[in-house]
């Protein structure tokens, strides 16, 4: 994996985060998964440990500023200095989704707290160490809702647009020679708990399995031609390009 040895994945107990943890651990990395609820997180870590993989669970709410250093410290003790950070934890806010004009102030704050501030704080806490080791990848999981103005997706969409811009600015500030790559990935529509909550009547056969999406994201991190610093990549585009190249 290009010398990358450890990963921290937020929102690691379900859906894409869970699939990413499996794929990275299968590639031999030591992986820390973080989430608010300990039980499903621990169950997933223990299932992978039984396969001989190095996966550790740390309970943390990334929306809580005071939870960040406890998470970083525990992750570092368990896995070693973190080489890959995947800011995957996200909240939609309450569902069914409502018009932006009907969104409660607190629900916009919550979306920004998890999806923007959580990612910002965790990245801030880890970048310096990556910089001194000249080794680091930060992947921010975004959404097409960050670009398309879908009705009722206001809080989520605005938070993901902010995350996209943080991604671009980090990339603009950190020269390639620093050895750190920051990029955003739009995973597309996936068959996950979150999608089910947002679009309950979607046909699951039209949705990508998280395992398949995770394989492509691991490829973006570690292939010979990985994702460019500052890029915003769509998994569907990446998949089509690499399928036609093969």
């Amino acid at each position: 994996m290009n010398g990358l040895q450890t990963a921290l994945i937020t929102g690691g107990s379900h859906g894409l985060g869970r699939a990413l943890a499996t794929k990275l651990a299968e590639r031999g990395l030591r992986v820390v998964i973080a989430a608010r609820e300990l039980a499903p997180l621990k169950a997933h870590a223990e299932a992978l440990q039984r396969r001989g993989l190095h996966v550790y669970a740390v309970q943390a709410d990334v929306a809580d500023k005071e939870a960040i250093y406890p998470l970083v410290a525990q992750a570092t003790l368990l896995a070693g200095p973190i080489d890959i950070l995947i800011n995957n934890a996200s909240t939609l806010g309450p569902t069914p989704l409502r018009l932006l004009a009907d969104t409660d102030c607190e629900d916009l704050e919550l979306a920004l707290g998890v999806n923007v501030l959580g990612a910002f704080r965790l990245t801030k806490a880890l970048l310096g160490s990556m910089l001194l080791r000249k080794r680091g990848v930060v992947v921010n999981i975004t959404s097409d809702a960050s670009v398309q103005p879908y009705a009722t997706w206001g809080a989520y969409g605005a938070s993901k647009a902010a995350l996209d811009q943080l991604t671009r600015i980090w990339a603009a500030e950190l020269p390639e020679s620093a050895g750190i790559r920051v990029f955003a990935v739009d995973p597309g529509e996936m068959d996950t708990r979150m999608h089910q909550a947002a679009v309950p009547d979607a046909d699951p056969t039209t949705l990508a399995p998280p395992d398949d999406v995770a394989t492509h994201i691991v490829d973006m991190i570690a292939s010979d031609e990985p994702a460019a610093h500052g890029a915003r990549l769509e998994v569907t585009t990446w998949r089509n390009r690499h399928a036609s190249a093969a």
């Binding site: 250093y69 406890p70 570092t76 200095p81 806490a125 160490s129």
Partner: protein, 350 residues
């Protein structure tokens, strides 16, 4: 509110080769060094090392943990015991804690207890303890009940965010390796752009005061450090190319000089205990310069500074720092001691 150290933190520059002093800010650091120089930082994260506790007889005490947990995963730490009260009472005015007995149980949080394993011969306030939890559950409890160690000069409680350097990794330090706190990502990038390399080691920086005169005289206590292979290689390459080694913090000086002594004249990688006490008589073998806080003669760090410069220049620097209101303590101003750092400055030191 005390401002947080950053790029604008004042930097007193002392050039022992020319006997000169000058006032700068941390932003000037890259320009004071030369391409090919090597900075070595202590990447220990700061523990929430201060834990309020109750003894078996119900007396209130405070535990200050000395990192790291040893052995890892055991739940065992060394700790200094303080009497009733907290950091808002000046350390030297704190009441003495009741003597703890081996085997005594200490209550920290509702679910967090510890057992006293041993008392040091140095002082009955220095103990070994074992928490009755271990692993992830223990770390969660320590971060829930512990707070950063702090001192009376700052009234408001310090958040954990205020005591981590930009590059902190494993939580080993009882007090922040504070010399590196003003090293922002902007400064780190500016150093790299000038071809000034930065390497790391991890050193379990301990307490700067205990309130027990016997224990204070023995500071710094033996402390765990770990030097990576890459850092040893960087030191050798820097030396070979004529560059200078600048330690960021006294803990880095202690780790490097201890490792050199232990290796019988060769700097070797690995994890060991630093028990070397660096005095003005110590001949520095690895380190050429030091970036550190502003220290006063009553501190244990002050005698270490004597290894970097003659007594007269040290005294002159101290008076200069006082006269120009440089702030002492760990969130204060900084001092760079490096021969050749002020080649063009007008001679000022008497």
């Amino acid at each position: 509110m005390h401002p947080q150290p950053d790029d604008t933190t004042r930097l007193l520059v002392v050039d022992p080769a020319h006997g000169r002093l000058a006032g700068r800010t941390m932003r000037d650091l890259p320009a004071l060094l030369r391409g090919g120089d090597l900075l070595i930082v202590n990447d220990a994260a700061t523990l929430p090392a201060s834990l309020p506790a109750q003894t078996a007889s119900g007396a209130s005490i405070e535990l200050r943990l000395l990192g790291p947990e040893e052995p890892a995963g055991s739940g065992q730490f060394r700790a200094v015991v303080f009497g009733a009260g907290d950091y808002r009472i000046r350390t030297e005015l704190r009441p003495a804690p009741p003597p703890l007995q081996t085997g005594e149980r200490l209550q920290i949080g509702p679910q967090l207890t510890a057992t006293v394993l041993a008392r040091s011969q140095l002082s009955e306030r220095l103990i070994d303890l074992r928490f009755d939890l271990h692993g992830a559950v223990l770390w969660r409890a320590l971060y829930a009940w512990g707070r950063p160690v702090q001192y009376a000069y700052r009234v408001e409680p310090l958040p954990l965010w205020a005591v981590q350097t930009a590059y902190a990794t494993r939580p080993w330090a009882s007090e922040m390796p504070s010399a590196g706190k003003p090293l922002s990502v902007e400064i780190l990038l500016a150093l790299a752009a000038r071809n000034i390399q930065i390497a790391t080691l991890t050193h379990a920086a301990g307490l700067s005061a205990t309130g027990d005169p016997a224990l204070d005289r023995a500071l710094p206590l033996p402390e765990r450090y770990e030097i990576p292979e890459a850092t040893v290689r960087a030191v050798h390459a820097t030396r070979a190319a004529g560059g200078r080694i600048v330690a960021v913090g006294t803990s880095v000086v202690r780790a490097l000089e201890s490792a050199y002594e232990r290796g019988n004249g060769t700097l070797t990688a690995g994890s060991e205990i630093a028990s070397l006490r660096i005095t003005p008589e110590h001949r520095l073998r690895v380190v050429d310069g030091l970036l550190t806080g502003i220290h006063a003669p009553e501190e244990s760090h002050f005698e270490l500074l004597g290894a970097f410069m003659p007594k007269e220049l040290l005294e002159h620097s101290h008076l200069h720092a006082k006269a120009h209101a440089y702030r002492e303590h760990e969130l204060g101003d900084e001092c760079l001691i490096l021969g050749g750092s002020l080649p063009d400055e007008k001679k000022r030191a008497a």
